[in-house]
């Protein structure tokens, strides 16, 4: 259990003049749930997007499931093992909910039509909206769309799930339904990295909470400790605004 499935070592990332990540190092074990918080522009989303190389990093190294990302010839191999859920859901609007979940299974996992369908329906059951299978994403509420997006990522049987502010674009009454699905995943032992300010979720599900600011990790502790008894002054200042 002690093996680290994600090893991030001293990565740096620039956007033009902006030094977005300034030497971030982080190890995440298999089955661990890590919540990353921090003010906007602190680099937390960038860090997440580096883990499946949606952003290229300038220096340092990231090893995911034994594969170093920097020289990875076939990044797609890594990406199939790392599911990602976006703030804006990014469902494919020209496809039905079912087709959204089936597409990558058919193309990448080479599953038969029936097999992909079965997997998809099972996942839609899991996220609680099997009756929406034939609908188009724009016909669904935000919470439902995000649950479909989670099902879509899970259909590839990823070893790791990344969540980039999954509830930030949702109306308040829809946040819980998405968090419940994520809580269920955490209980099943999924390795998860979650950028989110949902303190309740962090306390209930996370093994570790991380505060980032200015492209650096400022404080790292079990969520109860970080939220209730932070050591760092910047963590205190940030939490006083969020809580």
């Amino acid at each position: 259990m002690a093996e680290a499935i994600i090893q991030i070592k001293n990565i740096h990332k620039h956007f033009g003049d902006c030094h977005a990540l300034q030497g971030v190092s982080l190890e995440i074990k298999k089955g661990e749930v890590v919540v990353v918080i921090g003010p906007s522009g602190s680099g937390k989303s960038t860090l997440l997007r580096c883990i499946n190389r949606l952003e290229e990093f300038d220096s340092g190294s990231i090893v995911v499931d034994g594969i170093p990302l920097a020289g990875a010839k076939n990044i797609n191999l890594v990406r199939t093992e790392v599911g990602m859920v976006f703030q804006q859901f990014n469902l494919f609007p020209h496809l039905s909910v079912l087709e959204n979940i089936c597409l990558a299974q058919r193309i990448i996992r080479h599953r038969s039509k029936k097999e992909a369908r079965d997997v998809s329906m099972k996942l839609l059951d899991k996220v609680g909206i099997p009756e929406k299978a034939e609908m188009r994403p724009p016909q669904l509420s935000g919470g439902q769309q995000q649950r479909v997006a989670i099902a879509r990522a899970l259909a590839m049987n990823p070893k790791i799930m990344l969540f980039d502010e999954p509830t930030s674009a949702l109306d308040p009454e829809m946040i819980q339904e998405v968090l419940d699905v994520m809580l269920g995943l955490a209980k099943e032992g999924m390795t998860m990295v979650v950028v989110s300010h949902e303190i309740g979720f962090a306390k209930a599900a996370a093994d570790r909470a991380i505060l980032m600011d200015g492209g650096k990790i400022i404080e790292e502790a079990p969520p109860k400790v970080l939220f209730e008894n932070p050591k760092n002054a910047r963590t205190k200042a940030f939490l006083s605004k969020v809580l």
């Binding site: 990406r79 199939t80 804006q88 990014n90 193309i107 509420s141």
Partner: protein, 271 residues
Amino acid sequence: MAKKQKNSEPNGSGPKKTARHFDSGWYLLFAVISIILFLVITQPDPYLNMLKFFKEGIWITIYVTVVSFILVLVVGLIGGLGRVSGNKVVRGIATTYVEIIRGIPLLVQLLFWYFAMPALIQQIGRVTGNEALSNYQTNAIAMAIVGLTIGYGAYMSEVVRAGIQSIPKGQMEAARSLGLTYFQAMQHIILPQAFRVILPAIGNEFITLLKDSSLVSVVAVADLTRRGREYSAIHFNTLQTWSMVALVYLVMTLLSARLVAYTERKTKSER
């Protein structure tokens, strides 16, 4: 894209929907056809004779337009993908192609392909001593199609590029994060959505191409325009001839416009 649930209005009943969407463009098309019929029936000489004389030319116009258009779609797709490519060389080639072609009048391009290109090939044949090349004879219709394809392909590339760029970045990111390659994401996610966006523009390109196909009449292609010129040269009735040529073009363009409007409505309701 997908932000909040939009309460789309429930689909209306069938007849009501068709009534609401009845395209008034059909009236104009019927009017033009009626005028032609009226002329042909009341004055078979010259109008019926004229139409008989034009028949082959009309087919050549349609043939040249449709074949060129299919090739233009292929060139446009390749050019459009090139224009958004991450590879600087590919993007450079695509951009240069678009910029050069857009800077030269289509008529000059057609003249180039018909007159200058064969001369160049023959010259090369003479210099290298290659019999086949030095005796090269060009095919007017083939060269006209080449000219129209390359000329319109540049505009179509820009249409495709605009379509691809109109799709939110998150779509590509979501597809890539599932492990799809760039081209798989293009094929299954980006292009199908982009196609719906640019469908009206593609339709417009078709209609413009149909009209501009009349330019091939100057490079020895016996299309409708050229047949018109021949007919008026024989019978010295320019007013009647060019009026009829214009009416026949109108029938073709108005009909195309209706087809474009129809497919557009269809894909919209499928969304």
